[in-house]
C-alpha cells in the first residue's frame, strides 16, 4: 500500500497508484460497512478531532462515523466563525491540539491553505475536509469510488462537472483526481464561474451546457455557491437554472446510462431539478454519502499506519 505523505492536504500531487490503493481500500470498507461488521479496533486509543471552522453537517458526521467505526476516540470542535478573529485562533488552536495529543486532525476552513498552515504547526496527521476554494480531497475520493462502482473504471470516462467551478473546492479535487486517473474531464458553466486558465488544469471548458453534456458518462452538479459570490457573477437563480440547471431535457444529451452526482447540499430548482435529483436509476447522490464514510475510513486507516505507535 503506497501513500506519500503524513497528511492528506490535497489530491494534486498524488499519483495513480496512491489513488488506486485508497479507492481499493475504501471499496473493502464499503463492503464491510454493508455487512454490518463495522466496529473494529484499528484506531483504538487514537484521538481524532474534527475541527470545523465552517458549518458542515454531512462531512463532519461522515468523518465522525468513520472514526468511530475504526475505534478512535472522536471529538468534534466547532469553532464559530464569529469568534474567529481573522484566523488568529488557527495557530492558537494548533498549540491547544498539540497539548491534547491529537493523532488525527480533520479540518474544514473557509480559507484556502489553512490546513497546510496548520499541518506545519501540529504533530497530528492533518486531513483537509475542505479549505476555501482550494480542495476537498475526500469528496473527490468518494466521487471516484461511486463512479468506479457504477462504471467499473475511471479511465476514458467522460465526466462533466457543471456549475460554479470558480468557487468550488470539490471541482478542483475532482479535476485533479479524475484527470490523474485518465478520465476526460469537462467543466461546464457560465464564463464568470469558470476559473482563470482552467484549461491548463487539463480539462475541456464548455460554456454551453448542452454541448458539455453530450455523450457524458457522468454528470456532476455543483452547488451554486451563492454565499461566496461577491457581486453578481450570475444575474439570477432562474436564469442560471434555465441555462445551467440540470433538467431532463439537458440530461437527455448525456449517455443513456449516465449517472448524476451532487456533493450536497442541493439547491433544488437552481442547479438541479428535483425530478433528476430523486431519479431512481440515474441519481447516485445517496450512494455518494455512503461511499463518503468508506473513503474516510480508508484515509484514516492509511494515515494512522504512519503515526508513531505510542505517543
Amino acid at each position: 500500500m503506497s501513500y506519500p505523505s503524513k497528511h492528506l492536504l490535497a489530491i494534486e500531487g498524488l499519483e495513480p497508484p496512491h489513488i488506486a490503493d485508497l479507492l481499493d481500500l475504501a471499496e473493502s470498507y464499503a463492503l464491510l460497512n454493508r455487512s454490518g461488521k463495522t466496529q473494529r479496533d484499528l484506531l483504538k486509543g487514537r484521538t481524532l478531532i474534527n475541527l470545523f471552522f465552517e458549518d458542515s453537517t454531512r462531512t463532519r458526521t461522515s468523518f465522525e462515523l468513520a472514526g468511530k467505526r475504526l475505534g478512535a476516540d472522536v471529538i468534534n470542535m466547532s469553532v464559530s466563525t464569529s469568534s474567529v478573529n481573522k484566523g488568529e485562533t488557527l495557530l492558537d488552536t494548533a498549540s491547544t491540539l498539540n497539548a491534547m495529543q491529537c493523532d488525527l486532525l480533520v479540518i474544514r476552513h473557509a480559507q484556502s491553505g489553512a490546513p497546510a498552515l496548520l499541518s506545519q504547526k501540529v504533530d497530528a496527521a492533518v486531513i483537509n475536509a475542505g479549505d476555501g476554494t482550494h480542495e476537498h480531497p475526500t469528496q473527490a475520493l468518494l466521487d471516484a469510488l461511486t463512479i468506479r462502482r457504477h462504471k467499473g473504471r475511471l479511465e476514458g470516462l467522460i465526466v462533466a462537472i457543471c456549475g460554479d467551478i470558480a468557487h468550488s473546492r470539490v471541482a478542483r479535487s475532482n479535476i485533479h483526481l479524475l484527470g490523474t486517473m485518465g478520465a476526460r474531464v469537462r467543466i461546464v458553466g457560465p464564463p464568470t464561474l469558470i476559473p482563470a486558465d482552467a484549461a491548463r488544469l487539463g480539462v475541456e471548458v464548455f460554456t454551453d451546457m448542452k454541448a458539455g453534456l453530450k455523450d457524458a458518462d457522468v454528470v456532476m452538479m455543483l452547488r451554486l455557491q451563492r454565499e461566496r459570490m461577491s457581486g453578481g457573477l450570475v444575474p439570477s437563480a432562474r436564469e442560471f437554472f434555465r441555462f445551467y440547471g440540470l433538467d431532463a431535457e439537458k440530461l437527455a444529451l448525456a449517455k443513456p446510462d449516465s449517472i448524476v452526482m451532487h456533493p450536497g447540499p442541493m439547491n433544488r430548482g437552481v442547479e438541479i431539478d428535483s425530478a433528476i435529483a430523486d431519479h431512481p436509476t440515474r441519481s447516485v447522490i445517496g450512494e455518494q454519502v455512503e461511499m463518503g464514510v468508506a473513503c474516510r475510513m480508508a484515509v484514516l486507516d492509511i494515515l494512522a499506519r504512519r503515526l508513531p505507535r505510542n505517543r
Binding site: K86, T133, R169, D197, R200, L201
Partner: protein, 425 residues
C-alpha cells in the same frame, strides 16, 4: 570632524560613468576630492578599502515605515538601522501612516525624526488626498513648503479618475509629481495573487494583471490632458511597461520605478501558501519578470525602490488570503539588485544608477553621486561576498522578507552619512 580618506577602492559613480581604482577624501561631511594619487592630510582617518566598491549611498524612492501608528511593525529608528545596514542614506517615506501625512506639522515632525537618527535623510511624501482616503485633495502647497517631495496615497491607488485629474493638474503649480499605486481597485478587490493557473490551483482569489495596465493607461491619458507628471510605483507587468515606454516616447511626463521582488521572483514563490511572498502588487509570471528586467536595461524604469512594507508575524502567520501583503526590503535592496548584475542582465554602473543618481535626479536632490562638493553619503560594498537572507536575523524590526532563505552575493561593508560612519559590517 576628522578628515577621512578611503583608499584602494573601486570608485563607482553612475552619474559620470566612473569605474576606476582610487581614493576618496571626505572633509566636513562633503566629498573633498576623489581619484588617484590622493594623499592623506595630517590627522585624517584612514580606511583601506582593499579593492571593495565605493559608491554613492543609495536613494530609496519608496519605503513604508510603521511610524506613526504601527510602531510594532517598524519604527523610524529601526528602519534607519536597517537602511544603514542596506547602504541606504536617503529614504523616501510613504504618507499612508496613521495618522496619514496630510498636514504640514506631521511632515515637519517626520523630517525632524529622520534628522534625529543621524544616519539617514528621511524625505516624506505628502498625502495626495486627505487621510489618503482618495476624496478631497490634500494641501499640496503647504505640504510642499513643509518638505513634501511629491504626493501619493501610498499603497492605495487613487481610484477616482476625477480626483487623479485634479491632483495631476494642481500639483503642477508646485512642481511636484503624483505617485500612483497602479492597480484598478474594483478589479483588484478581494484578490490575493495574480489571476491565472497558479491562483486557480491554490484556490486563491485572483487579481487580473490587467488591473495594472488599465490604471497606467488611464493615468497616462490624464497626464496628457493635464500636463502633469505621473510616477508609477512598483511596476510589475509587461503590459504596463509597454504603455509607459510609449508614453515616454510621446514626450509625456511619465516616470516609474520597480522593486527587487518584481525582477527577481515570480509568482511561484507563493507556492505552498508562503505569505512572506504575498506582496502588493502580487508577484507575476516569469514572462512579466523578464519584461521588468528588460525595462531596467532599456531605461523605461527610472529607479529601483525597496518598497519596504514592514509586517509582523501576526500579520503573516495566517491563511494566505487573510495575511497582509508587503515585504521588508531595506536590507536586501542592494544585493538583490546585484544578482541581476551577476547574472549578466545589467551592467554594474547602470544598476547602481537606478539606486542612486537616477532617483536623486527625479527628486532634484544633490545626492546619489561621487562628486567634489557633494554630500559624503557613501556606500562601501563587496560585490561578490555571499550571505544568506534569514528572517529573524535581518537588521531592523521588520523581518518579513520575501527573500527569506535566499543566498545572495553582495555585502555592505560600510555606510557613511555626511561623512559620519553609520554602519560597519
Amino acid at each position: 570632524m576628522r578628515d577621512l580618506l578611503i583608499s584602494d577602492a573601486r570608485l563607482l559613480d553612475p552619474a559620470t560613468g566612473l569605474d576606476a581604482r582610487g581614493a576618496l577624501l571626505v572633509r566636513d561631511g562633503l566629498i573633498a576630492d576623489l581619484g588617484q594619487g590622493l594623499t592623506a592630510p595630517e590627522g585624517a582617518e584612514l580606511i583601506d578599502a582593499a579593492g571593495a566598491c565605493l559608491a554613492p549611498g543609495l536613494v530609496d524612492l519608496r519605503a513604508n515605515l510603521g511610524e506613526p501608528g504601527q510602531e510594532h511593525r517598524e519604527t523610524i529608528a529601526s528602519a534607519a538601522q536597517a537602511a544603514a545596514a542596506g547602504g541606504i542614506t536617503t529614504l523616501c517615506v510613504l504618507p499612508d501612516t496613521d495618522p496619514a501625512l496630510d498636514d504640514p506639522a506631521l511632515l515637519s515632525f517626520m523630517i525632524r525624526r529622520g534628522e534625529a537618527t543621524g544616519s539617514v535623510t528621511l524625505l516624506p511624501y505628502g498625502a495626495a488626498t486627505a487621510g489618503c482616503a482618495g476624496k478631497e485633495l490634500a494641501e499640496f502647497g503647504l505640504l510642499r513648503e513643509a518638505g513634501a517631495i511629491a504626493f501619493t496615497d501610498g499603497a492605495k491607488a487613487i481610484g477616482n479618475a476625477r480626483t487623479m485629474r485634479i491632483a495631476l493638474s494642481y500639483a503642477r503649480a508646485f512642481g511636484a509629481f503624483i505617485v500612483q499605486h497602479p492597480e484598478d481597485p474594483s478589479l483588484a478587490a478581494g484578490g490575493a495573487a495574480t489571476e491565472g493557473e497558479l491562483a486557480t490551483r491554490l484556490g486563491l482569489p485572483g487579481i487580473p494583471p490587467a488591473a495594472e495596465a488599465m490604471m497606467v493607461a488611464r493615468d497616462i491619458t490624464l497626464a496628457r490632458i493635464t500636463g502633469g507628471h505621473v510616477h508609477f510605483a512598483h511596476v510589475s507587468t509587461a503590459a504596463a511597461l509597454d504603455l509607459i515606454r510609449a508614453a515616454k516616447q510621446d514626450g509625456l511626463r511619465v516616470t516609474c520605478d520597480t522593486a527587487p521582488p518584481y525582477f527577481d521572483q515570480n509568482e511561484t514563490a507563493i507556492g505552498d501558501y508562503r505569505t512572506y511572498a504575498k506582496l502588493s502588487p502580487p508577484l507575476r509570471t516569469e514572462a512579466d519578470r523578464i519584461a521588468i528586467v528588460a525595462g531596467l536595461v532599456d531605461g523605461t524604469i527610472d529607479a529601483i525602490a525597496s518598497d519596504h512594507q514592514p509586517r509582523d508575524a501576526d500579520d503573516k502567520r495566517l491563511p494566505f488570503a487573510q495575511a497582509e501583503a508587503g515585504g521588508a526590503g531595506l536590507a536586501t535592496l542592494l544585493a538583490v539588485t546585484l544578482a541581476r548584475v551577476h547574472a549578466g542582465d545589467i551592467p554594474m554602473l547602470a544598476a547602481l544608477g537606478l539606486l542612486t543618481c537616477k532617483p536623486a535626479a527625479l527628486l532634484g536632490l544633490p545626492v546619489g553621486r561621487l562628486a567634489k562638493g557633494a554630500p559624503a553619503d557613501l556606500l562601501l560594498f563587496h560585490p561578490a561576498r555571499g550571505w544568506k537572507v534569514e528572517a529573524g536575523k535581518l537588521p531592523g524590526k521588520a523581518q518579513n522578507s520575501p527573500f527569506d532563505g535566499r543566498a545572495l552575493e553582495g555585502r555592505v561593508l560600510g555606510t557613511w552619512k555626511a561623512g559620519r560612519r553609520v554602519f560597519s559590517a
